[in-house]
Symmetry: C2
Subunit: 437 residues, 2 copies
């Protein structure tokens, strides 16, 4: 006998949690499709040569890589590299701007720990342009995420937006280019380590003088409405070319976000977003759930200049965001933020009061499903108590009983399992209740 | 520069085909849920010790197995072994009968050839009982498949049903038990090799005498309606215990199938179904598309006595069927059976007649989506011809133009891209058309 265990770092849910998980996944998918994004479904396994064209260092160590016959294979570790491969390979078949989504599992052999997974869902959207891509897409992407998090109804949230050119431009302007990697790392950690630590590190470790420190701090700490923030960024009077371009881009993107109807309470400019060191080249995003900022960003992304430089000479700029669904679900559950009302795919479960009513139950199931009502029929032979227990544990809303009285009287007994209310209804009334609810 | 290639045996579709593929996948999922089946999402990677508890021979050779650190890992090669592990591991948390579906990719390192895949979707449904399981479930499962293939609308189909006890019983009754493995293999191939070859092999290779041959042939060739077939199986007068039980089970299952409302034209009894040698113990199913029987069975399964004997002492009988979606899709495409009308997730694409109308396009997109109409807005700067070409290649039904005349006149120009008909409509009329269509 082998112990039926699941590997650590691999999420495997009980059915009621799986229903909740899938509800979130379906909400994300529905919204991606509402904006006309096309589905992709690339392989989990790729040739190592292809998948590792760019990778190196920490990422490569975590990858599940192995040989089968003569093939050196990798399990994908994100959905971006497969997208780059796909766009380069199908360049002539695709229409640009190419807007795709992919909701799929990726694999990283990290040391497993609380809230870290080796197999996890990424829910990616990206728009890829041919040569150029309008900044309007930098606004459409967070607008889609806004719609998703509104619909998920897991609390208030803030989409934080910046443009990396601003940060790079001000570093350049202050003559701190030699320190840019260290500074970006430090700024990315600013909210975690606190202002005092941040300032001390700049002063002592990096020997940044007071005047430069003040410019940097007044830049990073700009507050107010987005329009006030933009105006203050303008008034800093920085003439560095990169900075000026970044501010122009950010202003354009914010303008479009307003036109996309994103409520002003749900987004802000946060100039401390650095998001990695070399991939993003313009707009960058992070998203935080209010009151649960410690969870970290639940949806991030940005604009990049060139998606697929390792596979093609074509210039392919893009912008995208991604929800780390497995980790998000884990955190929502840990923090009691999951809405528990819908834990079954079924609206009702039909229970025969004896073997002789199985036929009537099957017939009722046929009718309900023909009316688009998801219905479980309990077909096994068991005591009534066992059947009712099954219905309650299934977390469906209604149990419907069919027995001697019901068949003779040509009605159905329906029990609302939430409030325990029980009624006797004709088929028409039953359909009415189950359809509207 | 690395060539952006995809591994042979891995299906990677262009977006329009992916939309068709996903439509089929969604139809399958929707029907599984309509019958109240619960979703499972088990890991792709499992410990080799767990996944290979039962495997051996041919299967094991095909498995993607590798080491990472101290772990010996396997990629799942089906969804049944993970189900067995899951049910054994979560036995006390689950309600029985446990009805689950899983639609997911599995991996087999087969030699790649036309129509054979190394990564492919299986769409499984199974009901697992605790100790016992009603034969009514042996009828519910093919009823669900009937609903799916009706809705897929890919042509007429036949669900072939048998019970393995009949075949095993008649072999036992004829005193041919020593040959049972060879006979089952041969019977399974009967329709492929033809009657003459079949009979000659029995006569010459297996030295089956004429009287026994005649009983076997009259059994295998029973024709007529299912009720006639059942009656003829009765009249064969075979008293073997296994045969009698098999006939009783088959009669019960067929009775339930009728109650489930499956149209009599869509199922039949076929006594030649053997389906492997040791797993299935009762009801067995195969499904063929009429006129395309050469594709092979597109949906198969059966009843088994014990799901998880390698992981638990609990007896867990079950019944299930599976659609091999990747192979089915490939065959539908090869045979021109795919319905091509819906090749985009979007109902319409909104095209600005110039940069200055981007804002109006975004506003219209907001409104349409608020009315649950999937809408693409074309946000890039391009010539009008390029934009229209994009709409046509996207295979959406409608293009909507917004330019100077439209904004001044407070209307929208909508073009039906199928019939090229163009109209000028107010927002109300536009919503009416896009909502009803």
């Amino acid at each position: 006998m082998i112990e039926p265990r699941t590997l650590p770092g691999f999420m495997e849910l009980l059915p009621s949690d799986q229903v909740l998980f899938n509800n979130i996944k379906d909400t994300i998918k529905r919204n991606y499709e509402k904006f006309g994004f096309l589905p992709l479904d690339t392989p989990v396994l790729e040739s190592s040569e292809v998948l590792l064209a760019k990778a190196g260092g920490e990422t490569e160590k975590q990858i599940y890589q192995f040989k089968k016959g003569d093939n050196d294979l990798c399990m994908r570790f994100d959905l971006t590299v497969p997208l780059a491969k796909y766009v380069a390979a199908n360049y002539n078949e695709l229409s640009f701007p190419f807007a795709r989504y992919q909701i799929d599992k990726v694999y990283r052999g990290e040391r497993p720990q609380k809230g870290r997974f080796r197999e996890f869902y990424q829910c990616d959207i990206d728009v890829i342009g041919r040569g150029e891509l309008s900044l309007a897409y930098d606004a459409e992407i967070p607008c889609i995420m806004y719609n998703i998090f509104k619909e998920l109804n897991i609390g208030d949230f803030t989409i934080q937006i910046s443009n990396r050119k601003l940060l790079l431009g001000i570093i350049e302007d202050l003559g701190l280019n030699d320190l840019s990697i260290e500074l970006l790392r430090l700024i990315d950690k600013k909210s975690k380590i606190g202002d005092e630590n941040f300032i001390n590190t700049l002063r002592i470790d990096y020997k940044v003088d007071e005047q430069k420190l003040n410019v940097l701090l007044s830049f990073l700490n700009i507050k107010g409405s987005v329009n006030e923030q933009l105006s203050k960024l303008n008034k800093l009077g920085i003439t560095n070319e990169k900075y000026v371009l970044g501010l122009k881009e950010l202003t354009t993107v914010i303008g479009f976000i307003q036109k996309f109807g994103v409520n002003a309470e749900y987004y802000t400019i946060d100039l401390t977003i650095a998001r990695g060191l070399d991939y993003y080249t313009g707009t960058v995003y992070e998203t935080f759930i209010k009151g649960y900022e410690n969870i970290g960003s639940v949806c991030s992304g940005g604009r990049y200049d060139n998606l697929a430089e390792y596979y093609t000479k074509e210039k392919l700029p893009g912008v995208g965001m991604s929800i780390g669904l497995t980790r998000l679900f884990y955190q929502l559950k840990e923090n009691g933020l999951l809405k528990k009302q819908y834990m079954s795919n079924s609206k009702c479960i039909v229970l025969p009061m004896g073997e002789e009513y199985l036929e009537n139950c099957i017939a009722l199931g046929n009718t309900l499903r023909a009316n688009n009502i998801n219905t479980t029929t309990y077909l096994d032979n068991a005591k009534f108590k066992t059947k009712l227990q099954y219905a309650i544990r299934s977390k469906v809303k209604y149990a419907i009983f069919v027995g001697e009285d019901e068949v003779k009287g040509n009605y159905y007994t329906i029990k609302d399992l939430e409030n325990e209310k029980q009624e006797q209804l004709t088929l028409d009334k039953l359909l009415e209740i189950l359809t509207k609810d």
